[in-house]
């Protein structure tokens, strides 16, 4: 993926701040020419992955998000830095199935510094047809 513009965002690890993670994602997706369908998919995917890190009621700490705009689409990384531990995030088979339908690829695990993290790639329809 050549030519990368990058946006970073760090939010408290609670549900009410995930809105900012979604709005940033959809704002960048819009710039990249994603369609309504794709934007809605991205919104759902971001939610699923962020909640995988923070749980339904949130945690103490923050989630750092990094959005990379490429010529193909959008790559988003999320890292959870929590006060109460850094266990590996778990993900159900159902969530896997859901994410497979929503994005081109995703990963959930721990980053190199041991923090719970995720990554997703959503390519534009145009780039997938190339």
């Amino acid at each position: 993926m050549p030519t990368q513009d990058e946006v970073r965002l760090a939010v408290p690890a609670t549900p009410e701040f995930l809105r900012l993670a979604r709005v940033t994602a959809t704002g960048l997706a819009s710039r990249l020419g994603f369609t309504y369908d794709e934007v809605e998919d991205l919104r759902l995917a971001i939610d699923e992955l962020c909640y995988t890190l923070i749980g339904n009621s949130g945690r103490r700490g923050q989630v750092s998000l990094r959005y990379l705009m490429t010529s193909d689409g959008l790559q988003i990384e999320g890292i959870g830095q929590f006060d109460d531990g850094a266990e590996e995030p778990t993900i159900s088979d159902l969530t896997r199935q859901i994410l497979r339908a929503l994005v081109d690829s995703y990963e959930v695990g721990r980053n190199t510094s041991g923090h719970p993290s995720f990554q997703l790639v959503k390519r534009t329809l145009a780039s997938r047809q190339r």
Binding site: V23, T35, E48
Partner: protein, 248 residues
């Protein structure tokens, strides 16, 4: 709600006994002793357009859950624990109703207008429109479109752009009738998650079409005869429900 130190000790002992015996008489007494707590929180949510009686019901469900799940040896006061559960139940109620926070009226109107534009544009273009295309058609900025779409996810408006429940039900019934491999799919879904079965049938179908059949949201809208935004909303809500059910 305040208890005397003696009452407090008595209640603590009752919780310990109940944790052992799961005696239904004790359970009832514990619930009754704390109904005031449920009512207190119901009142705090009563200025949001829902009848107080309904809210007390909802809060009481939270209280029941709290009594059933409370572990007295964890060192947390019951009132602290129950507050969390009751408020959680109330919030969920509002979230499901879509009234947790009201979107600005302007955004509600734009959202509803975008719903119509989305339908028309998709037909004209033969594909899902981009955000700039929606913005141009609605004569607003891209940011406003995104803001309205985000608002639409979080809030459900009273007048949904969907057909009435019955019409929709009939469409769904007709749809389900033509589904020939329904059973195998149902088994596959059930093996993935028993949680799915807890969703209303319509939501199950939409989830199935989107995540198992790979149809787009627009495809699903066309197939079921409901608006695309309605599909988006139902998907978002279903996923939220699955998440909260998974954590229970």
């Amino acid at each position: 709600m305040t208890f005397t130190p003696d009452q407090r000790d008595e209640l603590r002992q009752m919780f310990v006994d109940f944790a052992e015996s799961r005696d239904s008489g004790l359970r009832t007494r514990l619930i009754e002793a704390h109904l005031g707590l449920a009512e207190y929180f119901a009142r705090r949510f009563s200025n949001r357009g829902e009848p107080l009686d309904d809210l007390i019901q909802v809060a009481s469900v939270g209280l029941l859950k709290a009594v059933d799940r409370f572990e007295p040896n964890r060192g947390v006061e019951f009132s602290t624990y129950a507050t969390h559960t009751i408020v959680g139940e109330l919030k969920r109620h509002f979230r499901d109703k879509g009234w947790a926070v009201r979107a600005p009226r302007r955004m509600q109107e734009l959202y509803l207008r975008l719903g119509k534009i989305l339908g028309t544009l998709s037909q004209e273009l033969g594909r899902s429109p981009t955000i700039p295309e929606l913005a141009t058609e609605a004569a607003v900025s891209e940011e406003e479109v995104l803001e309205a779409l985000e608002a639409g996810q979080a809030y459900r408006f009273a007048s949904l752009d969907a057909p009435s429940g019955q019409e929709e039900g009939e469409t769904m019934a007709a749809q389900l009738g033509t589904e020939d491999k329904g059973l195998a799919d149902a088994e596959r879904r059930a093996s993935l998650s028993p949680l799915l079965a807890r969703l209303p049938e319509r939501e199950q179908t939409i989830l199935h079409l989107r995540f198992f059949e790979g149809l787009t949201q627009s495809d699903i809208a066309a197939r079921l005869g409901i608006s695309q935004m309605h599909v988006s909303r139902l998907l978002a809500r279903s996923l939220a429900e699955l998440r909260s059910a998974a954590e229970e």
